[in-house]
């Protein structure tokens, strides 16, 4: 056999093997999809009205986000998806992801926190995110949704959430936030897990509500107790 023929054969074998693993993965993904997702998103991924949106062309980001945060499969299509332990393991997730992204869509976003700037991230976060997520990312309530505390998601999940806008959260495309800004944002969100608590016990970085509770329970109640101990009582 000539070298050329041998090379062609080798390349062809590798190609076939790759296709085979890939299609095995997609077909495993297809099976899982039929089992867990099709009831709401439809056999052909076109969506079912009142149940779930079309998944054609969503790409890998939203699928990975929803699966790795355990938000999908949803129990009830009317519920707000919430973070829970993922139903599928990492291999199954990547199978479903490659199955759904084989219908098209952008590649999964990612972020490199080290490339970001912390201060820029803080500023972006207070202008774009804190109104819902609270300035130190402790979450809260907004009209129509619980906004999660951001101590759980990984850098990658944060990037995916920002680019897709899950549930009532707005999506921030590359026009609104450049890749570098995204890196900065992610860097800030990771920082909020261990913020600079120079003042001592952080009482969850929430401000006046826990502060008021402490002022009454550790401050006033203790002082009232002391007053009671050093003051006399009347047997009236």
């Amino acid at each position: 056999m000539s070298t050329t023929a041998r090379t062609v054969l080798a390349v062809a074998t590798v190609f076939v093997l790759l296709c085979a693993t890939a299609s095995a993965k997609t077909s495993a993904g297809a099976a899982l999809y039929d089992l867990d997702c099709a009831s709401c998103h439809g056999q052909t991924l076109a969506g079912r009205s009142g149940m779930g949106p079309s998944l054609r062309g969503v790409g890998a980001g939203p699928v990975d986000f929803y699966l790795s945060t355990g938000r999908m499969p949803l129990q009830d299509p009317r519920d707000e998806p919430t973070r829970s332990p993922p139903l599928l393991n990492a291999r199954q997730r990547s199978a479903v992801t490659s199955f759904i992204s084989s219908f098209g869509g952008p590649p999964a976003p990612s972020a490199d926190p080290q490339a970001g700037n912390l201060s820029a991230g803080q500023h972006l976060f207070t202008s774009d995110c804190a109104g819902c997520h609270q300035v130190v990312a402790r979450g809260g309530l907004t009209v129509g949704a619980d906004v999660p505390d951001l101590r759980a998601p990984s850098a990658r999940q944060i990037a995916e959430a920002v680019r897709m806008g899950p549930y009532l959260m707005p999506r921030f495309g590359p026009r609104q936030l450049s890749q570098r800004q995204l890196d900065s944002l992610v860097r800030y969100v990771l920082w909020t897990r261990r913020p600079d608590n120079a003042g001592g016990w952080s009482i969850d970085n929430l401000g006046p509500i826990p502060e008021g509770i402490i002022a009454w329970l550790l401050g006033m109640a203790v002082l009232a107790l002391i007053a009671r101990l050093i003051g006399e009582r009347t047997d009236a």
């Binding site: 309530l141 401000g207 006046p208 502060e211 002022a215 550790l218 006033m220 007053a227 050093i230």
Partner: protein
């Protein structure tokens, strides 16, 4: 002559103070621990003044913007105001600055808590009655000033939380009928977020005018107490005409100094160990920045609750909204509460027909109507206060926010009625049983006589000092007028 005698005579020859000092040292304080709540407020005020002077040395009331390049990388390169910069430095670079800031803030929170408890004590024991009604007015005025004072202090930092608080305050000021727009414009030196005079004004109000007014009113408050003497609970040997208790020296002064040290100790411990208002985490304020869950300090929380609870009621007449919605929660609601409190002594005289002077206190059960109405008013305010945190309750406990608001819109009217009825019957039951709500049934000691029968032993506290109001120093008139 001993050194002490020489000291006394030195003073006497120059100030003629011996008589006054003797009077002061022999002044008698009635014995009940609840009388110390007002003192806690006084001592918190002292801590506030001392830490406040420290803060004033570093604070810069300027909204001029600069680019921050300091040691704190989180904000490196951001636009911040000089005011925010000075508080940032106070927190992170000035030695002991953060301790002072945090102690000051905790002291403010505890100051207001102590005032509120003290007002409750005075209310539920009838200590506001003639002749102490004037001091009741002084006290309520101080409470209002303290609320403004705290809000002004919270707002000085020009950080994200305080800026959002000021935005709400601005909308409340705007909502005052007829004069609102002018008023807000005047106070803020322009429209929100205010002109360059706003922060200097706020600082003068917070660091000079209101504290001076408070110090003056505290002096009047204490002078009136000493002039009229303390009221006291009824009990063995206690009459309208005397005060039974511990004299200033020795005894009460030491106890009171102990309390001062306890207050200062607890406040500095909190200031050193528990983080409060970390403005370096909130970042600077700009009108386009915001945070979820921005809240004022607890003593403004009742107004936030009222703003949230108030239905969206904003009638338009010929294209005008004469009363914008924030007026109801932000102005009318506290207005109603303080009006009730200010008019209470006169109203009670009127409805009970009792216009006599009272130096003996009531136990809450002795006046079931007052106690029940007061408890109802208190529950009304406390409920509205709690609604101010309904979003956090919803987030943490998963109770729908909308459902909470709907329930409490009715609940804040129903619960006080229930509280009223329950307190009324509790007071009456206690009156009948003679039991103490915390200590149970009255203790009775019996002694067995040699003959075998039992007799009651009178077990009082070790004989306290009795100060006949009529006798001795003649500081207190003794004839009582019954109008």
């Amino acid at each position: 002559m001993s050194r002490a005698q020489r000291f006394v005579s030195w003073n006497e020859q120059r100030f003629g103070s011996a008589k006054g000092v003797r009077w002061l040292l022999r002044y008698v304080f009635p014995d009940h621990w609840s009388f110390l709540l007002g003192e806690v407020a006084l001592y918190a005020f002292i801590v506030l003044v001392i830490t406040g002077i420290f803060l004033a040395l570093f604070y810069q009331p300027s909204d001029t913007h600069m680019i921050y390049h300091g040691s704190y990388t989180l904000l490196d390169g951001q636009q911040i105001s000089e005011a925010y910069h000075s508080v940032l430095n106070l927190s992170l670079t000035v030695p002991a600055g953060l301790l002072m800031r945090q102690t000051h803030h905790w002291a403010a929170d505890v100051f207001l808590a102590a005032i509120v408890l003290h007002v409750m004590r005075v209310f539920f024991t009838g200590a506001f009655r003639k002749p102490r009604d004037v001091n009741w007015f002084v006290g309520l005025t101080m409470l209002m000033l303290a609320i403004f004072e705290g809000f002004a202090g919270y707002s000085l930092g020009d950080d994200l939380m305080s800026g959002m608080g000021l935005a709400i305050a601005y909308s409340v000021a705007m909502s005052v009928p007829l004069i609102g727009a002018q008023l807000a414009h005047l106070l803020w030196d322009g429209s929100f977020p205010g002109g360059s005079d706003f922060l200097p004004r706020l600082e003068i109000a917070h660091a000079l005018l209101i504290p001076a007014a408070l110090a003056g009113l505290i002096s009047v408050h204490l002078a009136l107490i000493m002039r009229q003497h303390h009221s006291q609970f009824p009990g063995r040997g206690r009459k309208e005409s005397n005060v039974v208790g511990t004299p200033m020296w020795p005894g009460y002064a030491l106890r009171s100094i102990g309390l001062l040290l306890a207050v200062a100790g607890i406040l500095f411990l909190l200031g050193g160990l528990v983080q409060i208002n970390p403005i370096w985490q909130w970042g600077p304020y700009e009108p386009y920045l915001s945070t979820n869950g921005a809240q004022p300090d607890w003593y403004i929380g009742w107004l936030i609750g009222a703003l949230r609870l108030m239905p969206n009621f904003e009638p338009t007449i010929a294209g005008h909204t004469p009363i914008p919605n924030p007026f109801w929660g932000g102005v009318a609601f506290p207005g109603v509460v303080f009006t009730i409190l200010f008019f209470w002594p006169a109203a009670e005289r009127r409805f009970s027909g009792d216009r006599r002077r009272h130096d003996l206190l009531d136990r809450p059960r002795d006046k079931p109507q007052r106690t029940a109405l007061g408890a109802a008013l208190l529950s009304w305010v406390v409920l509205i206060f709690a609604v101010g945190a309904a979003d956090r309750v919803s987030f943490r406990l998963n109770i729908s926010y909308a459902a909470q608001i709907h329930v409490w819109r009715v609940g804040v009217w129903v619960v006080p009625v229930v509280v009223y009825l329950l307190s009324l019957s509790a007071a009456r039951a206690l009156q009948r049983s003679g039991a103490h709500p915390l200590r149970g049934s009255p203790r009775v000691r019996l002694r067995r006589r040699p003959s075998g029968e039992f007799e009651l032993v009178d077990a009082g506290s070790p004989s306290p000092e009795i100060h006949e109001r009529s006798g001795g120093h003649g500081e207190r008139r003794c004839e009582r007028t019954t109008e």
